[in-house]
C-alpha cells in the first residue's frame, strides 16, 4: 500500500512514516498542500492521511478540490476536533473517514483497512509466506485450497508475523501490538491467539514457533 501523509508537524509525521514503513507500506510526507499537490501529480496513492490545519490552507478545501476533479482516492482526515458537527462536515465534503488525534496506530490501521475494504477492487492487498496467503482486507487466510476467516486480533497478529517472518517477537511486543494500551491484559492472553492461529495454519508449510524465554516467530516447515 502507498500512503501519502499530509501533515505540517514533522514531529508527528515522522512516527506515522515509521509506522507505515515498519508494516511494509511505502509512504511520502507532504508538509503543505502545495507539496501534496506535487506528490499527487506524479504518483497514485492507495491512502491519503490529511490534516485539516495546514500552513498554506485548509485541508477541507483541498479535499473539496480533489473530489471536484473526480479524484476518489481514499482519504482519512486527521482532525484535532472531536465535535460531531465537524465530523459530519468532513464526511459531507467527501472524506472516507476521520480519526481524532491523538490516536492509536491500531485504530488508524483498522480505519485504513475499513476504508480500503470499501474501495475494494482498487487495492487488493495480499501477503504471502510459503504457500500461505493472507488477505488483510478480506480477513482471510488461504492455504492448500482452504480458506480460514480470521478475527481482527488474529489477523493483526498474523500481519505482524507475515511482515517480519523469521523474526522473534516477545509476548510483551505482541501484547502491545494487539491490545490497546488503555486496556489492561495479562501477557498470557497472547497465547490464546497463538493457539488459534496454529490451528488455522495446521496443514500448511508455515508454523508459529515458540522459543522459551525469547518469544514467537513465523517459520517455514
Amino acid at each position: 500500500m502507498k500512503v501519502l501523509i499530509i501533515e505540517d508537524s514533522r514531529d508527528f509525521a515522522q512516527p506515522l512514516k515509521n509506522f507505515f514503513s515498519l508494516d511494509g507500506h511505502t509512504n511520502d510526507h507532504a508538509c503543505t498542500l502545495g507539496e501534496a499537490r506535487e506528490f499527487m501529480d506524479v504518483s497514485h496513492y492507495d491512502m491519503i492521511l490529511l490534516d485539516i490545519m495546514l500552513p498554506d490552507g485548509d485541508g477541507r478545501r483541498f479535499l473539496n478540490e480533489m473530489r471536484s476533479r473526480n479524484d476518489d482516492s481514499p482519504v482519512i482526515v486527521m482532525t484535532a476536533r472531536s465535535e460531531v458537527s465537524d465530523r459530519i462536515d468532513l464526511l459531507d465534503i467527501g472524506a472516507d473517514d476521520y480519526i481524532v488525534k491523538p490516536f492509536e496506530f491500531a485504530e488508524l490501521e483498522a480505519r485504513c483497512r475499513a476504508v480500503l475494504r470499501r474501495h475494494k477492487g482498487q487495492s487488493q492487498l495480499q501477503l504471502a509466506f510459503g504457500q500461505v496467503v493472507l488477505h488483510p482486507l478480506l480477513a482471510t487466510l488461504e492455504h492448500g485450497g482452504t480458506t480460514h476467516s480470521l478475527r481482527n486480533r488474529e489477523l493483526r497478529l498474523l500481519e505482524v508475523f507475515f511482515n517480519s517472518p523469521e523474526i522473534y517477537f516477545t509476548k510483551e511486543q505482541l501484547t502491545d501490538r494487539l491490545f490497546s494500551i488503555s486496556e489492561s491484559v495479562t501477557e498470557n492472553a497472547i497465547e490464546v491467539y497463538i493457539g488459534r492461529l496454529r490451528k488455522k495454519l495446521a496443514g500448511s508449510n508455515a508454523r508459529i514457533e515458540t522459543v522459551r524465554g525469547i518469544g514467537y516467530r513465523l517459520v517455514a516447515t
Binding site: 515498519l22 472531536s82 491523538p102 491500531a106
Partner: protein, 462 residues
C-alpha cells in the same frame, strides 16, 4: 433559559406612573374647581332669591298719616318656601327698634341697599342661615328713619343640592380619570410596540444567527439599532475568533499528544527491556488519559452550553444510531466486538430535539460499552417505540461484572471498582445523564442476568 434581570420600574411602568400621576392631579384640580364653581352658583341663586325677598319686603313699607305700615309679602315667602323644606326667618327694624318678625334673630353687622344687599351666613337656633340685609331711609313727619330688613333662610336644600351635584361631579371626574388612564395605557403600549416587535424579531433568531438586524423601527430607536448591530458585529467577530482559537488550541494540544503517543507506540515496538517498556506504557497510558479527559471535559462544557441554547430540529433516531455505529465499528473491530442494531420500528422515527446532544449521549454510552466490554462479545443496540415514548437500549457484557449503584455510576468523576484498569475520566455516564435531563428524557442502568449490563435512553415522543 437565561432570565434577563428586569429593572424595578420598566419603561412602560414609568410612563404609566407618570401619566397616572398627571391624570390624578388634573382630575383633582378639575374636581375642586368645578365643586367651587357649583357651590358659588348655588349660593348665588339663594342670594338672589333672598335679595328679591328683602327688596320685596322693603317695597311693602308705606307711610300713612305719619305712621309706618307693613304688608307682609306672602307671595315672596311662598316662593322662598317652595324650594325644599327650608325655613324662613325675618325681622324688620326701624332705627334699631324692633318692629316685627323674629326678635331673637340677630341683627346684621352691616346692611346694604336695595341694589347691593349685605349677605352673610349666621348660626341661628342650631342651623346655618343665609341672610340678606338691606336698609332704606324714609322720612316720617320730617324725620329720617332707617328701615332695616333682615331675611334669612336655612340652607338645607342648597346643601342637599350641592351634595348631589358633588356626587355627580365625582362620578364624572372618576370616569374621566379611568378613561384617561386607559387611554394612557393604550398610548404607552402603542408607543412601546415597536420595541416589543424588535425584541420579538431578535428573539426569534436562532443562536447562530448573527446577521444585522434590519427590522423597521421608529426614528427614536435608531441609536439602539445602531448599537445592537454594532454589538452583533463585535460578538460575531469574537465568536469567530473564539472558534478559531478553540480549533487552533485543540490542534496545538492534540498534535503534540499524538506525537508523544505515536512515538511511544513505535518505541514500544523496538524496546525489549521490561523496565523501559513499563515506562513507555505508562507514558502512552497517561497521554491517553489526558486526551480522554480533555475530550470529555469539552463534551461536558458543550452539553452545559447546549442545555441553555438548544438547537432543535427533526432528528431520525435510526439514522443517528447507525451513524454512531459506523463511527465506532473500526474501534470495536480492534477488540473483535460486534455492534448490532435491532429496531422494531418499520420506518424512521423522528423526534424534535437537539441532534448534537443526542449524539453526545449515544457516543458516550457506546464508548463506555466498548471500553468495558469483554473482547469477542456483542454490543446490541435496540430501538423500541410506543405511541408516547421511545427507547434506545445499549446492552453489553462487561469484562468484569460488579454491581454498582447506578446513581454512583452517573456521578461526575465517579468510577466503578471494575474500571481501575481502564483509562477513563468518570464523566461519560454523567454526561449521558445530563444530556437526558436536557432532552427531557431519562437514563436507566440495569444489571441483567447472564452478566449483561443494559443502559437505556428513554425519550418522550410528545
Amino acid at each position: 433559559m437565561i432570565q434577563t434581570s428586569t429593572v424595578q420600574l420598566s419603561l412602560r411602568n414609568r410612563l404609566l406612573v407618570i401619566l397616572a400621576f398627571l391624570v390624578a392631579i388634573f382630575s383633582l384640580v378639575l374636581f375642586i374647581s368645578m365643586r367651587t364653581l357649583t357651590g358659588q352658583a348655588v349660593s348665588a341663586a339663594q342670594d338672589g332669591l333672598l335679595k328679591a325677598a328683602a327688596v320685596s319686603i322693603l317695597e311693602k313699607v308705606r307711610i300713612s298719616d305719619g305712621a309706618l305700615f307693613f304688608d307682609l309679602p306672602y307671595d315672596t315667602f311662598t316662593i322662598l318656601g317652595s324650594i325644599g323644606e327650608d325655613r324662613i326667618f325675618y325681622r324688620i327694624d326701624a332705627n334699631s327698634a324692633f318692629l316685627t318678625g323674629y326678635e331673637d334673630l340677630p341683627i346684621s353687622d352691616s346692611y346694604g341697599d336695595e341694589r347691593t344687599p349685605a349677605f352673610a351666613s349666621i348660626d341661628y337656633q342650631g342651623e346655618i342661615l343665609r341672610v340678606a340685609a338691606i336698609e332704606k331711609p324714609v322720612l316720617v313727619e320730617g324725620q329720617s328713619i332707617r328701615i332695616r330688613v333682615l331675611i334669612g333662610q336655612t340652607s338645607n336644600f342648597q346643601v342637599q343640592l350641592l351634595s348631589q351635584l358633588t356626587e355627580n361631579l365625582l362620578i364624572i371626574v372618576v370616569s374621566f380619570c379611568l378613561f384617561a388612564g386607559l387611554l394612557a395605557a393604550l398610548t404607552v403600549n402603542s408607543m412601546l410596540n415597536p420595541i416589543r416587535r424588535l425584541a420579538d424579531a431578535v428573539g426569534r433568531r436562532g443562536p447562530n444567527d448573527l446577521r444585522r438586524v434590519d427590522h423597521p423601527t421608529p426614528q427614536e430607536l435608531a441609536p439602539l439599532m445602531t448599537a445592537l448591530n454594532d454589538f452583533i458585529s463585535r460578538l460575531s467577530g469574537a465568536l469567530k475568533q473564539t472558534e478559531i482559537f478553540i480549533a487552533e488550541a485543540a490542534h496545538h494540544i492534540r498534535t503534540p499528544l499524538a506525537t508523544v503517543k505515536s512515538e511511544g507506540e513505535l518505541a514500544l515496538r523496538k524496546v525489549r527491556k521490561p523496565e523501559n517498556r513499563a515506562h513507555l506504557r505508562n507514558i502512552v497510558r497517561s497521554v491517553e488519559q489526558a486526551n480522554r479527559s480533555a475530550t470529555q471535559l469539552l463534551d461536558h462544557a458543550m452539553v452545559l452550553y447546549r442545555m441553555e441554547q438548544p438547537e432543535r430540529r427533526m432528528v431520525g433516531l435510526l439514522q443517528c444510531v447507525n451513524d454512531m455505529v459506523f463511527n465506532f465499528a473500526p474501534s470495536a473491530e480492534l477488540r473483535d466486538i460486534e455492534i448490532t442494531v435491532d429496531s422494531d420500528i418499520s420506518q424512521e422515527l423522528e423526534l424534535y430535539l437537539d441532534q448534537t446532544l443526542l449524539e453526545t449521549a449515544l457516543r458516550n454510552l457506546l464508548d463506555n460499552a466498548l471500553k468495558y466490554s469483554a473482547a469477542e462479545t456483542t454490543i446490541s443496540i435496540s430501538l423500541n417505540a410506543s405511541p408516547d415514548s421511545c427507547r434506545i437500549s445499549v446492552r453489553n457484557r462487561p469484562a468484569t461484572m460488579i454491581e454498582i449503584d447506578p446513581d454512583l455510576m452517573t456521578t461526575r468523576f465517579s468510577r466503578g471498582a471494575n474500571a481501575t484498569d481502564v483509562v477513563g475520566s468518570g464523566l461519560g455516564l454523567a454526561i449521558v445523564r445530563e444530556v437526558m435531563m436536557a432532552l427531557g428524557g431519562a437514563l436507566e442502568i440495569e444489571f441483567e442476568k447472564g452478566g449483561h449490563l443494559c443502559a437505556s435512553l428513554s425519550l418522550s415522543r410528545r
